[in-house]
């Protein structure tokens, strides 16, 4: 007797791929049939968030405690560490790093093969209010994971000092993309502080800037242009009031840039408002 008609696994995998951002549907799929499990888990656990501020964290605590039993750690490809509040930022980031290291350990222990498992990369989000990027601030907390951070995003933090930014960025040897959405500073530092001697290259391939502190960013980009040799994608919000400086930036960094993400605003007198920025697209073509 023939069984019910069934779709080939690659077709069901493809269908499940369309549900990539629907956790409820993915959870239901994972429980529907064993052949649907892998594709569902691939999206369910591909990216997990550790909220350094103690908010919603995708049930990561539960995941950490039961990981070996449910064997999902190997599905994790990216861990987002989010620090959006200034209150006890250093301690909370340290806790988030510890949690990441628990995932690392669980992954190593649950791996059956003799080869070293691929450890998840880290996307680090820092936002809102005061943040000290230096040795007295969050830098030491992140030293244990510095080689896993591949994406860094600043979203409206108030940094202690201007000249902390690029040394902080260059402390992540595998950082590939940097996004800056508004910056403010407590104290003025030197915008044009040159890179540390011996720093040959910051391996960033992508920089996206959409910031009210454009003057600072432009100055520091000019200072660091010589060590941004890997830059392939550059995103900028063009402001007509900074035209001369932006031309200098373009000349300094354009060498390897293959992708330009460009938007523009013009000013009405001296007063302007920024367009509200649409969230990033994340769709399959």
């Amino acid at each position: 007797m023939m069984g019910p008609p069934a779709l080939a696994p690659e077709l069901t995998d493809h269908i499940i791929d369309f549900l990539y951002d629907d956790k409820k549907a993915l959870s239901a799929c994972a429980l529907t049939h064993p052949t649907w499990l892998a594709a569902s888990r691939f999206h369910l656990f591909g990216t997990i968030t550790i909220d350094g501020d103690g908010g919603a964290d995708d049930g990561i605590e539960a995941l950490g405690l039961t990981a070996r039993r449910i064997r999902v750690l190997s599905y994790i490809r990216t861990v987002k560490i989010v620090s959006m509040h200034s209150d006890q930022r250093v301690r909370r980031l340290r806790d988030a790093v510890s949690l990441y290291q628990r995932i690392q350990r669980g992954l190593s222990e649950s791996d059956d093969s003799t080869s070293t498992p691929d450890l998840p990369t880290i996307h680090l989000y820092i936002g809102r209010r005061h943040c000290d990027l230096g040795e007295e601030g969050i830098l030491p907390s992140l030293s244990r994971i510095s080689d896993k951070v591949t994406h860094l995003e600043f979203s409206s933090p108030i940094l202690s000092r201007r000249d902390d930014l690029w040394p902080f960025v260059s402390s992540f040897p595998d950082l590939r993309s940097l996004e800056v959405i508004d910056l403010a500073f407590h104290h003025q530092g030197d915008n044009r502080l040159p890179p540390q001697p011996g720093l040959k290259n910051i391996p960033l391939s992508t920089i996206r800037i959409d910031t009210m502190s454009m003057g600072f960013v432009i100055d520091s980009l000019l200072a660091y242009a010589d060590v941004l040799k890997s830059l392939e994608e550059f995103g900028i919000l063009y402001e007509d009031v900074r035209q001369t400086a932006l031309m200098m930036v373009a000349e300094a960094i354009q060498g390897n840039v293959k992708v330009l993400r460009f938007s523009a605003k013009c000013h009405s007198g001296t007063e302007y408002e920024r367009y509200r920025r649409p969230s990033a697209f994340d769709i399959s073509m």
Partner: protein
């Protein structure tokens, strides 16, 4: 003729001599003009496209809109003509023109576009030559505001 502002923008983009992809992003066509004191214009788009210095492969427009008529703020007719004109060497290597539309719908409301096919039909009329030569790609994403 282009204004000083438009010329300035096009000069900036022109500096990038090795471009493979140009993404015109953040085209917020759903911006509430009354709420913003900024002079809102997309007149710089023709200037930028006309003065590109390198032959690009991908041209991408990332747009957010609430209503179909808002899409018409972009000078599509100009884009269609310029991109498919064989005299314009900067578009000779083009293998796709991508239109990404984001729609932030109110919780109670439906979408003015139902899916990618609908969007494609909309742009088929706006970019007829680009569609005819097979370069048009459309993607649509809808999210609750």
């Amino acid at each position: 003729m282009f204004s000083e502002y438009e010329t300035g923008i096009s000069e900036f983009v022109r500096k990038f001599a090795s471009l493979d992809t140009l993404v015109l992003d953040n085209l917020g066509l759903d911006v509430d003009a009354d709420h913003y004191s900024i002079h809102y214009s997309l007149a710089w788009i023709p200037a930028v496209l006309r003065r590109l210095s390198s032959p690009i492969r991908r041209l991408v427009f990332e747009v957010s809109a609430r209503e179909i008529f808002q899409l018409d703020a972009v000078p599509w007719g100009f884009v269609d003509e310029l991109v498919t004109d064989p005299q314009n060497t900067q578009f000779r290597s083009l293998d796709r023109v991508e239109i990404l539309v984001e729609y932030k719908r109110p919780p109670e409301g439906g979408s003015f576009l139902k899916h990618r096919d609908t969007l494609y039909r909309e742009f088929k009329t706006r970019l007829p030559e680009i569609e005819r030569v097979g370069l048009l790609r459309c993607s649509f994403v809808s999210s609750v505001k």
